[in-house]
């Protein structure tokens, strides 16, 4: 019986090994050299994040200009009215001046970026809805705002992953995004136009800020000494 047992074990072992061999090794084809985990490197992530931010900023600027040309008469346009309070309804302080940005750590940079992104995802959605209610809103504008919304959400994911990679698991323990309650959808057309315009203006500024933060972060990853806010 021993012989039979040994034989069974051996056969079983052989079969198991055969099956085990079927399990493929981890295939990281298509990626660069990233080590065993086959994750995307931080550099690449940052590159993509920066690319996102650049594009978001550019598209937001174009959208604002388009909206301006179509819906805002020259007499009404007054950046002072819209530029000040409405664009900073944050409870969490976000560094605004250059000096502050220079001194802030990577952690806070990332946190700031994340906060900014998360706070503007919903306004963009609302803007989208509002623009769809217009009678003569051009399709290009609608597509653009839709695109902005999508990309912003994607950027959010990327920043989250960046935080996870750079800061570790603890970076995510942050306050959730806060909805800005200031922006109310008004039934008044004129008001909605004004509101939408303000959203676009502020978002453009935010997008620019996000782009700068990410570029700074990227620069710091490669060379900590020579990075400065431009």
């Amino acid at each position: 019986m021993k012989h039979t047992t040994v034989l069974q074990v051996c056969v079983g072992f052989v079969l198991c090994s055969l099956q085990a061999m079927i399990v493929p090794a981890l295939d990281c084809s298509g990626q660069g050299l990233e080590g065993a985990s086959c994750t995307i490197s931080v550099e690449k992530l940052l590159d993509r994040a920066v690319q996102h931010a650049e594009l978001i900023y550019r598209i937001s600027a174009e959208s604002k200009m388009m909206f301006e040309e179509m819906f805002i008469p020259l007499s009404v346009m007054n950046p002072h009215v819209y530029g000040g309070t409405m664009c900073a309804p944050r409870t969490v302080a976000v560094p605004a001046s250059k000096s502050e940005i220079q001194q802030i750590s990577d952690k806070w940079l990332l946190r700031s970026v994340l906060i900014l992104i998360q706070s503007w995802i919903d306004p963009l959605a609302d803007l989208q809805v509002s623009l769809e209610n217009y009678d003569n809103a051009p399709s290009v504008l609608l597509n653009r705002t839709k695109w902005l919304h999508t990309k912003l959400m994607s950027l959010e994911q990327g920043v989250l992953i960046l935080i996870k990679q750079i800061l570790g698991e603890g970076g995510l323990l942050l306050d959730g995004p806060e909805k800005t309650a200031d922006l109310l959808v008004s039934p008044d057309i004129f008001e909605s136009v004004r509101t939408d315009y303000s959203v676009l203006c502020c978002f453009r500024k935010v997008a620019h800020k996000i782009e700068i933060f990410l570029k700074l972060l990227k620069c710091r990853q490669t060379d900590k000494q020579n990075c400065s806010v431009f």
């Binding site: 079983g12 995307i40 992530l45 598209i59 990327g158 996870k164």
Partner: protein, 604 residues
């Protein structure tokens, strides 16, 4: 333990039996590729393995990196068979995807090898759209312009994707494609193409990090041929050719004659004097020859020039030159014997005349005056004076005679000559007769070639020459004695050897080349050179070698006879009147038909 072992063995045996029966668990699927057309969605395809003879189902599972949550593909249909489509929501650029495919059938399942995919690196855009190739002609340059549009799905507008394009072209017969990189632009100009051929064009694109798209459908373009390409050149060539033809035609028309002359030179006609072409054309050779004979023979006066050179000078009458009446009479008689038929002896007639005159001359000396009135008959006066040779020649007669000597061609009076001794002398002999003091002037006359064509004329001048010579000799009575004629010599012909550059005829006797030393002596001595002609129609002669001055022959009242005697200079020019005081009326016709052309001679 036994049960487990039994189970093992049974399983193994069943497996073997099922395989022997052809039924088996599914083969291992394999993920062939995952592609994202716009970096927002992607699709994965797998290749199924052996199905083992049983219906097999496939499932794709994936999980994100650093996450254990396994998701299954939610869309197996959009991308076709054996594919899985990941929509925008499920696509993340931030994480890698770990994808596996599981094949399952009744007998078992099989799992493919897991694949890690980063969406940013699997982007393969769709093919470009609306590819077109057209021939463009710009400033006589012809090229092909290929244009296309971006794939519809690629978002290059925002810069999400940046695409580079590439095109390739070849003729239908070529094997190799010719590729061109167009960058991010959506057009391309191809210049180096062969004319008159049909080309195929294709385009594809690629993102920054990603794969080349598939080639588009072939676009065809045909390049124009040489004629179409060089249309302007052909037009210009045609215009120039037409112009050239027109100009050539016009030129030919204008210069018709000269062209005809050049191409078809006229046949030279016969150059025979007296040849009548018309007669020839008429076809009668006899008439032609007759015409030749009549008209052109004997030779006309044109050839008489040759005869000018020959002068006949008779020596027999040398004695007559002696200015002695007696001698004259004797010579007159002797001259009668000179009757030859020799040519140039025409003066024989004159000889007889001279003889007659000799007799008469003595009687009347007034004849000189009579004859002096006539320019031509001046010689007559001389002869008369000669007849009076023994008598000292009056100056008057001399003067009267002086007129005569220039007249060479005046018609001789036969009777004058008759009275006179025959005057045929060789010119040098004539000169010899004279004393060195005499001035042999007469030669200059011989220069004029316009001698009458008749041979007989030649004799006349010689006659006159001798007469004039004699006349000269009369000028100086004191020298008469010295004018003894040298021993008579036979008549001989004189030939004009040459004409000196100083307008002096150089004569030499034909028959007697040795002719007397005197000839040669005299030839050198007695030649007189005409130096100039004064305004008074006086001929200035210049003696060359004679140390003594020649006697001056002056006519009229302006006698300078004594000039030279006082001044013995060889170069003293002697003045001699050139013409008689008779008015120069031009040609004077004498009674006997001779024309005195001496008056026509220009004064030198």
């Amino acid at each position: 333990m036994g049960n487990s072992g039994l189970v093992f063995i049974l399983t193994f045996i069943i497996t073997l039996m099922s395989r022997a029966a052809g039924l088996s668990p599914p083969g291992r699927p394999r993920l062939t590729s995952c592609r994202s057309p716009e970096k927002e969605t992607f699709t994965c395809w797998w290749e199924p393995g052996d199905d083992g003879g049983l219906p097999t189902t496939y499932a794709l599972y994936y999980h994100l990196e650093n996450s254990e949550t396994v998701y299954e593909c939610s869309d197996y249909k959009t991308a076709g068979e054996n594919s899985c489509y990941f929509n925008k929501k499920n696509t993340s650029l931030w994480v890698n995807y770990n994808i596996t495919v599981v094949a399952t059938n009744a007998l078992g399942k099989n799992i493919s090898e897991p694949v890690e995919k980063d969406v940013a690196y699997i982007v393969q855009p769709d093919t470009p759209e609306n590819v077109s190739a057209v021939v463009v002609r710009e400033d006589q340059i012809i090229f092909v312009r290929v244009t296309w549009e971006k794939p519809r799905t690629a978002d290059t507008r925002s810069g999400w994707i940046t695409l580079d394009y590439q095109l390739r072209i070849k003729t239908e017969k070529d094997e190799e494609w010719e590729e061109y990189f167009a960058g991010m632009q959506k057009y391309y100009n191809i210049f180096s193409l062969h004319p008159g051929k049909k080309y195929m064009v294709q385009v594809r694109c690629k993102p920054d990090h990603g794969f080349w798209s598939e080639w588009t459908h072939t676009a065809y373009v045909k390049t124009p041929g040489y004629l179409a390409r060089e249309r302007s050149l052909w037009i210009m060539l045609t215009i120039f050719f037409v112009f050239g033809v027109l100009i050539l035609t016009w030129t030919l028309r204008v210069k018709q004659k000269s062209v005809k002359l050049c191409l078809l030179p006229p046949v030279p006609g016969p150059k025979i004097k007296g040849f009548d072409k018309q007669l020839l054309k008429n076809g009668k050779s006899e008439d032609v020859l007759n015409a030749l004979v009549i008209q052109s023979f004997p030779p006309n006066t044109d050839y008489d020039d040759l005869l000018v050179e020959y002068l006949e000078v008779y020596d027999n009458y040398e004695q007559e030159l002696v200015l002695d009446g007696k001698d004259l009479s004797e010579d007159c008689l002797k001259s009668k014997s000179c009757l030859d038929s020799d040519s140039g002896r025409g003066s024989c007639d004159s000889r007889t005349l001279l003889l007659d005159k000799c007799t008469e001359g003595r009687d009347s000396s007034s004849n000189s005056q009579h004859y002096s009135q006539h320019g031509e008959t001046s010689w007559a006066s001389t002869e008369s004076s000669e007849c009076q040779v023994p008598e000292p020649g009056s100056p008057e007669s001399v003067d009267g005679h002086a007129k005569t000597w220039p007249v060479v061609f005046s018609s001789p009076q036969p009777h004058h000559c008759q009275a006179y001794k025959p005057a045929y002398h060789s010119v040098p002999e004539i000169l010899n007769l004279s004393s060195p003091r005499m001035t042999p002037i007469s030669y200059h006359r011989l220069q004029h070639r316009d001698v009458p064509s008749q041979e007989a004329h030649f004799s006349k001048p010689t006659c006159r020459h001798s007469q004039s010579y004699h006349q000269f000799s009369l000028d100086s009575p004191e020298h008469t004695a010295e004018n003894i004629v040298s021993p008579s010599r036979s008549m001989e012909y004189v030939e004009v050897q040459r004409v000196n550059p100083e307008n002096v005829l150089v004569l030499r006797p034909l028959s007697d080349p040795e002719g007397g030393r005197n000839h040669t002596e005299l030839a050198g001595e007695d030649y007189t050179k005409v130096k100039e002609v004064t305004s008074n129609n006086m001929l200035l002669l210049q003696t060359e070698t004679s140390p003594q001055c020649s006697d001056n022959y002056s006519r009229g009242l302006d006698s300078q006879a004594d000039r030279c005697s006082t001044q013995q200079q060889p170069s003293k020019p002697s003045v001699h009147p050139l013409f008689s005081p008779m008015p120069q009326e031009g040609m004077k016709l004498m009674g006997n038909g001779y024309v005195d052309s001496t008056l026509l001679m220009p004064s030198y």
